[in-house]
């Protein structure tokens, strides 16, 4: 019987899920996802998490709880770095520990460390570690890794090609993918905008070249990957004439966002006529307030266009 590996549908799931799913399937495992966030999951997460945790981490714990009794393993990698000389937010580094100490009686956690700070090939070490836990051989694991990478590449390609030609306006959303693509905490923001006749662009849709163009505007190198990506995307959107407006989504309690968000907001202010708005989301955010702001923002763009 194939082993069941549970993947919480939160945080880096939204970035790497095609790769992860393919990888475990290739290792003859059945992947169990916790499903889209629901009120029940958020409530469970808020109850389990320490007070200081940010909203996305609280949500992650809720997803873990959802999977608790359904799987043989939980896949919660310790992601330290995914880029040369850069780091991921410390909360990702401590994620497996935070989960262990917040929830009792969990199935074994596959918490292999992913640290590509010095070289990308460290990933091989990480995937082989996973293979060892699942008792799979070198060749099968290497092939699974390769296939996973291909699946991810294809997924990103599809994201970039998704275009809505009927849309009248183009709005860029700046924010972590685990907020934008979680329809519950983002309160379906992307769909709401689409209904208003807006085409939505996210940082994930940018090509590596576009990202490099954006990043060339930074006065110095940043070593937090996620924040750097946000700054690069912001600068790219600023200089792109096709983008009619930018909405920045930040999560309540996110430390890096409070700095990077502020920097981006100041940059936006320096640019005349740049339509820009920041929305800060937390578990209590009311939908009515969000809708009012979105409508007003789209009105503003429309008005300027006249």
């Amino acid at each position: 019987m194939s082993k069941k590996v549970g993947i919480p549908q939160a945080l880096f799931y939204h970035r790497y899920s095609p790769a992860w799913k393919t990888f475990f399937n290739e290792l003859d495992c059945e992947v169990v996802e916790s499903g889209q966030s629901t009120k029940e999951i958020i409530d469970a997460g808020v109850k389990l998490a320490p007070d200081e945790a940010c909203l996305p981490v609280k949500l992650f714990l809720g997803h873990v709880k959802q999977l608790q009794n359904q799987v043989d393993y939980l896949f919660i990698p310790r992601v330290v770095s995914i880029e040369n000389k850069e780091y991921i937010c410390p909360k990702f580094m401590g994620l497996p520990d935070m989960v262990r100490y917040s929830i009792n009686d969990l199935p074994p956690i596959i918490d292999t460390t992913i640290d590509l700070k010095t070289k990308k090939s460290n990933l091989v070490k990480s995937v082989l570690e996973v293979g060892e836990v699942l008792d799979k051989g070198y060749w099968q694991v290497s092939k699974a890794c390769w296939k996973g990478w291909r699946a991810l590449k294809k997924h990103r390609q599809r994201l970039r090609e998704a275009k809505n030609n009927d849309a009248q306006y183009k709005i860029a959303i700046l924010g972590h993918e685990y907020i934008i693509y979680d329809s519950h905490i983002s309160m379906n923001l992307v769909d709401k905008l689409k209904e208003m006749g807006v085409e939505v662009v996210t940082p994930e849709m940018l090509t590596p070249q576009a990202m490099r163009v954006g990043l060339s505007n930074l006065s110095k190198d940043m070593f937090w990957t996620l924040g750097k990506k946000m700054m690069g995307a912001a600068h790219y959107f600023f200089s792109n004439q096709e983008i009619d407006g930018i909405i920045q989504l930040t999560a309540f309690g996110c430390g890096p966002d409070s700095l990077v968000g502020e920097m981006i907001e100041r940059e936006a202010k320096k640019r005349d006529g740049q339509a820009f708005m920041t929305l800060n989301l937390d578990e209590h955010t009311g939908e009515a307030g969000l809708v009012t702001r979105l409508e007003a923002f789209v009105d503003m763009i429309q008005w300027e266009g006249v």
Binding site: A275, T292, E295
Partner: protein
């Protein structure tokens, strides 16, 4: 003569304004919503019906109950209150560059340049300094809210009050009271604290240039107006119809909408003859437990909202 009606149903007040083709205000009405928007809308329509003898060529709704009001009245346009306030401000004071708006439970700032909105802000998780809080403080001090602002102007030495949070502002006020400061100084201190809170919170990072106009229910408070002028170093204009600006904007938008459509969906004032009510239920279809709301006209469901999925979309 063609006339257009705007209805603004907010948390605290329900306002109606009627304008003519040249966007001059013909009638206005300010009612307290008192937690019952449907009743307030009906009452408002019945009252205004007796005052108008011209045909209503278009209707717009705005405010937090804009959808509800739109369904009951048959609105030609249902717009958010930020846009409605901006439209009203630039209609009443052409060339306005900053709009400060403080209502019952929310406050906004709208920045316009060359007649176009370029930026806006709205209070998020804090309602300190909005009308409801002032109402509450006035009744705690046993002063009619209408006199609240006037008293602030009589202050000689406004006290310092922490305006960051309305709960702490209240304890601070009580503390100053017990020390023996007089009421005028306390109220003036409160006005200043609220203005600072507004500018730091809602107005953070916004470029405030004149002409500045101050509207919404709280604009009736001269103490707050003066505090704004002092803090900004700019003249602050309170327009004549400051308390129904949302409704005026909504009427202007209705005029635009009808000009485009060529007809109105207004159900007529007789719509108040029907019995409207709402009922809600918790959908147990999935773990989102959406609170779905049904709006009834007599016994027929005419609108429904609140669900996250299309399950309940069809009426």
């Amino acid at each position: 003569m063609k006339a257009y009606m705007g209805v603004d149903v907010g948390s605290v007040s329900t306002n109606i304004a009627i304008i003519n083709q040249d966007q001059e205000i013909l009638e206005k009405l300010y009612l307290r919503t008192q937690g019952q928007p449907i009743n307030a809308i009906k009452k408002g329509l019945m009252e205004i019906k007796d005052r108008v003898d011209y045909e209503i060529s278009g209707v717009g709704t705005t405010g937090s109950a804009r959808q509800l009001a739109g369904v009951i009245i048959g609105a030609d346009t249902v717009k958010n209150e930020i846009t409605a306030h901006a439209v009203a401000a630039s209609t009443v004071v052409p060339g306005v560059q900053t709009v400060l708006e403080i209502g019952g439970q929310d406050s906004k700032i709208i920045v316009l340049r060359d007649g176009v909105v370029v930026d806006f802000g709205m209070n998020t998780v804090c309602a300190a300094g909005t009308g409801s809080f002032l109402d509450q403080q006035a009744s705690r001090l046993n002063i009619p809210i209408e006199e609240f602002g006037g008293l602030a102007l009589q202050a000689n030495a406004p006290v310092r009050i922490a305006g960051r949070c309305s709960v702490f502002a209240e304890s601070d006020m009580i503390h100053k009271q017990q020390l023996g400061h007089n009421v005028e100084d306390i109220i003036a201190g409160l006005s200043q604290a609220l203005v600072k809170n507004y500018l730091n919170n809602v107005g953070q990072g916004k470029e405030i240039l004149g002409p500045v106009i101050f509207q919404g229910g709280v604009a009736a408070n001269d103490g707050i107006k003066e505090a704004f002028e002092k803090e900004l170093g700019l003249e602050v204009i309170v327009p004549e119809y400051y308390d129904v600006m949302g409704a005026i904007g909504s009427a202007v938008l209705a005029q635009e909408a009808v000009n485009e459509k060529g007809r109105t969906d207004f159900k007529g004032f007789d719509t108040t003859d029907f019995n409207y009510y709402a009922s809600s239920f918790e959908c147990e279809g999935c773990s989102n437990y959406c609170e779905v709301i049904n709006i009834y006209q007599d016994d027929e469901v005419i609108a429904r909202w609140g669900s996250k999925c299309p399950k309940w979309e069809a009426v």
